[in-house]
Amino acid sequence: MAETRFDEIIHAPVRLRICGLLRPVDHLDFAVLRDTLSVSDATLSKHLKTLATSGYVTSRKAVSAGRDDARRITWLALTRAGRTAFDAHVRALQEIATPSI
């Protein structure tokens, strides 16, 4: 049976939304994530750092000789642990939102 677990690290609103956007994709560019969430670079970086420290998110800069640092793509992805924790957290939210009678 699938695990149900409320995760306080993920539940912070911006972090929940970050995980929600990373969950259905393999990788997402930092700029795309920032624009979709309508948050600043600093805010997104802060929350990503928290998620990365918890082992939920990885980031990797794409190297390109044709681009300077400012235009490099930073690929973000949920780790396996991140996907498991997010799925368990969503199930916990679903249980709260629609309690069984």
Binding site: F6, E8, A12, P13, R17, G20, L21, V25, D26, H27
Partner: protein
Amino acid sequence: MENHFRDPSREEAAAALNALSSDREHLAASVHAPWTLLAAFGGVGAWWVSAAAATNPGANYEPPSSSWLALVGTLIVVYLIQRETGVRFRRMGARAGWAIVGIIAACLLLFSVSLGFVSFGMHWAVAPTSLVAFATTTWLASVAYRSAVEHLRHG
């Protein structure tokens, strides 16, 4: 100061789940199919089919080495689309799978037809089959891309 959100209410939990759906919807709406790059898939397909014109069908037939180059070209276009959109899809959906099968089948069929034309000395007829390959591949690539975006929209 960071808040902690232990034990959200029913309404808060529902709102959080709705926000996740809205974000996926927003992301899917912002990911536009890069038509020039989808047409590049068509270009690869057309180029591969047109390679039939340079072959010598019959007993001395040797398959062209363009297949590997076409594969490399396809991978380069995939890479460029990912850079352009900033999204690497995890799953593309069944419709995308069928579209990719359709691209391969159409190109193989058109290549065979082109070989037939060449065997009759009608080298000029490879041009229309290549054009058909371009149009078919571009269209099916767009179908596959739209399928991936829809898959993203529904999580």
